[in-house]
Assembly symmetry: C2
């Protein structure tokens, strides 16, 4: 996977010192390394200096060097035996608000040696970013939240290394991708201004820190790279995703969309990038209705309604009896309800078309998606009119963000060659359904490409490529952030998008062809 | 003394963040600072990041920044209130083999706030470099020697700060100049190869470390700069001296000579530099004879012999009764003995001219410098023929080194506009006497200029100038080190220089005029 010497481990050999060339050991190595890397200079920690002279002599002035670079500054992290089998490992981390995922990588081959995932222990303090940042405003709160995640990471890293029979001392690099709030809390940085206008993080380019400084137990000279962010609402997880999707390489214009409570969108190519983020509402995360939940076994992921019989054909994850519905399931359901005429262009339930599935409860209409006899709980699984309204606001927000950002740049949807959809949502969403309700533009289905956990995979890719940090920093540098909170255009477009699929039917020709 | 903003403390002010400019606090400051410094990037420790957002807001995005640079890498060390009276201090250290001298400086004004000096505690382990390096080869020896000096430095720094009523937390920078062995032992680096052919240090450009990494208690983000060396025998003390003497500025050619057990010589100007070092023998350090000692009260610093009466006119330091003789006193004595005909051209005592001052002991001739009745001890103070032989070897070595280095470059002594003599030796030496015995070239007396503790003063100067490290590094980079151990030319010249003043009388016209 990794080309020899294209990664962070570099073979170097030097002429041994002589009376005619009395350059010191460290400077001799740094010079050879700088030439190999095309670097101006290379820094070395004191800890490594203490070992260097013995090792260089033992190995006759040849060695494999583990290096790292950030903000143009090269660091020599360790030297290893030239032909030895000593492993140089790295850890990629996706530091999610809810879930944290780790992969242990061989830095030389790119091979994944082990992986693990766990719930972010900060959830005990607060389920979301807002609650956690408020918590940091208590005395000692920042330190407490930071320790929660670092202590847990240390335990998980120790297990991860154990799985692959690797010593934590062999881990030289860690790459952490997360949203701006999560990375700030990980680093123990003040984050209270992230959530207050004008929404200013403590740092955009954290760069790399010694693992020790962050309280993480790896090699003594290991570096932990924290992905840069483009502001409070466009974090390192998205920059990592953009890197994984290849935004630094592609000449063609792409869009990357990550959907959660916020929808973040990146548009551009290797020459220019525009980003924006907006509240999409909880509907697309599965947090909307009583039966909404995130993807897991028994959760409804797709719905098919026979237009003749009105029969519901439900699929669940792992085919277990249905117990709830996730964001992509909701989109499928809404698309099918609309196609079957069971909801109208405003998303309102149509009594005549819903038949015995419609009931009224507390003065609000509900639709039974699964009858009690077929559900995991024995109860009816229903969605309310309010759930549908919420979904429509979310889909309208999503579409409007995409429309606003392309409009801002002055391109049409047809200029977009690939439309990446990140995250779990991206893996489950059916583009056809999302188009049907006017959530995403009416483009050929093959334009849409799920990216999976692109935040994690960008971090994995970083560990295998010596040019990664420079590419990631240049992605970050080229991003123009479009602030939607001050965008009047956005509000106008949003109103027009709150219909199924849209007030302007011409924007969704394929939907009307199908209907 | 320091021009506003020309030192390591820099005023910066920024536009406060807004929705239109959501750059993070740290990046906003780094950007403003980089512009002010003409730097490509500026790094910040995690510790400081944790405080930055509060301070920038308290001070409305204006502050005084303490910065440092080494190897082209800029570091932000701390931010202080924009108009506040908060002190930013630095410590200059001359880390001598025998003696350590410290000065506490106000980084903004250059004012010396306090100073102190103490014997290098490593002397308990071994008096000289050789003994100490041998000691490091015992298990734990490196750590032991390093702790000896760092523990003592911590105590002395605490006292130094106490003297000036300054908190050690206000010390942001420390500059340490010392010979290659002393700086290696301070940093705890392997030094065994410094004294073994081909004499290779662990590092030439240590750069700057966090004070914590070196075990020194200063500000949390303080940096300790260790002067670079040009090899095992041309250390950071001399580079510091060269910087103090202004070798990076002068168009005219200068020589810098530092005399101890080794004689180190630097020749050149702002465009080129050649260095060499050679064993000068202990004679010039006062370690040669029974009565030899380093400069202190009661030590003979000058001798005048009346050519008619043969009467000795002796001056001692602080005019106390004589108890020994230092290197410069020995040179004075030899010059006067030669002028009075009491030693011959080979430096041998001439019985007929020495009268009752000559005696024979254990088959060797001795000359009484001070009779018992006049000495501090009540005993005769004598020097032996062996002492004189040793002095002559030392002066021959010194002269030959200077002759070899100018010869190597292809210039004559007359091309040298200033001849700097560093150290205590430089402060006490009488150029006329040194010329008389052929130790230094026969140049006009005003060409010779004592530099004092140039190692310390170079470190002091560094603390006051933001361009210092770049200038020091460029001095180091331009030095070509001439290895005398492999120089046949040296051995030939050395034989010819073992006469008073020289076999070639034409080289010392002023001596023969005077005689």
């Amino acid at each position: 996977m990794t080309e020899k010497n294209a990664g962070w481990v570099v073979d170097v050999s030097m002429d041994p010192p002589s009376l005619e060339d009395n350059t010191a050991d460290a400077d001799r190595l740094k010079k050879a390394l700088a030439a190999e890397l095309g670097a101006e200079s290379v820094a070395v920690d004191l800890f490594l200096l203490k070992h260097l002279p013995y090792r260089l002599r033992d190995w006759n002035y040849a060695c494999r060097c583990v290096v790292f670079q950030t903000c143009g500054r090269w660091q020599l992290i360790d030297v290893m035996e030239p032909q030895g089998g000593q492993l140089a490992a790295g850890i990629a981390a996706d530091l999610g608000t809810t879930r944290v995922v780790l992969k242990l990588i061989d830095l030389e081959t790119g091979e994944v040696l082990a992986h693990s995932a766990f719930d972010n222990p900060q959830s005990d303090v607060g389920p979301d970013i807002l609650a956690r940042i408020h918590y940091t405003e208590n005395p000692g709160g920042i330190q407490e939240l930071s320790s929660l995640i670092t202590d847990r990471l240390n335990r998980e890293i120790s297990e991860l290394c154990g799985q692959a029979d690797v010593s934590a001392r062999s881990v030289y690099l860690m790459a952490v991708a997360g949203n701006t709030a999560m990375t700030h809390l990980f680093m123990g940085l003040p984050s209270r201004w992230i959530i207050r206008e004008p929404y200013i993080p403590c740092v955009n380019f954290p760069g790399a820190f010694r693992a020790d400084d962050l309280g993480i137990g790896l090699n003594e000279c290991a570096r932990i790279f924290v992905f840069p962010n483009s502001g409070s609402y466009f974090g390192g997880d998205l920059i990592s995703g953009a890197y994984y999707a290849g935004f630094h390489e592609n000449e063609e214009i792409s869009i990357l969309v990550d959907v959660g409570t916020n929808a973040e969108v990146l548009l551009g190519n290797r020459d220019w990038l525009v980003a924006c983020a907006g509240a999409a509402g909880p509907a697309l995360e599965g947090g909307v209705s009583e039966i909404g939940m995130t993807a897991s076994p028994g959760v409804i992921e797709s719905v098919r309604i026979d237009p003749e019989s009105g029969k519901f054909d439900i699929s669940t994850i792992k085919d277990e009896p249905p117990r709830g519905i996730c964001g992509s399931g909701m989109i499928d359901l809404a698309a099918q309800l609309f196609a079957a005429g069971m909801i109208d262009i405003r998303g309102r339930l149509v009594p005549g078309a819903c038949g015995n599935r419609l009931k009224e409860d507390d003065g609000m209409r509900h639709l039974t998606v699964v009858f009690g006899k077929d559900s995991a709980t024995g109860e009816d699984l229903t969605i309310s009119q309010a759930d549908l309204d919420s979904l429509i606001r979310s889909k309208a927000a999503m579409y409007t963000i995409i429309e606003t950002i392309t409009g801002y740049v002055g391109i049409s949807f047809e200029d977009v060659s690939v439309f990446y959809v990140a995250g779990t949502f991206g893996s489950f969403i059916r583009p056809r359904s999302a188009i049907s309700i006017g959530m995403i533009p009416d483009l050929p289905e093959q334009t849409y490409r799920p990216l999976g956990n692109s935040s994690l995979e960008g971090a994995v890719r970083l560990l295998s490529s010596r040019s990664a940090t420079a590419e990631i920093e240049s992605i970050r540098d080229r991003i123009t952030y479009l602030e939607l909170n001050v965008n009047q255009d956005f509000m106008n477009r949003f109103s027009a998008a709150k219909f199924l699929p849209h007030t302007d039917a011409a924007k969704f020709p394929s939907v009307y062809q199908a209907v």
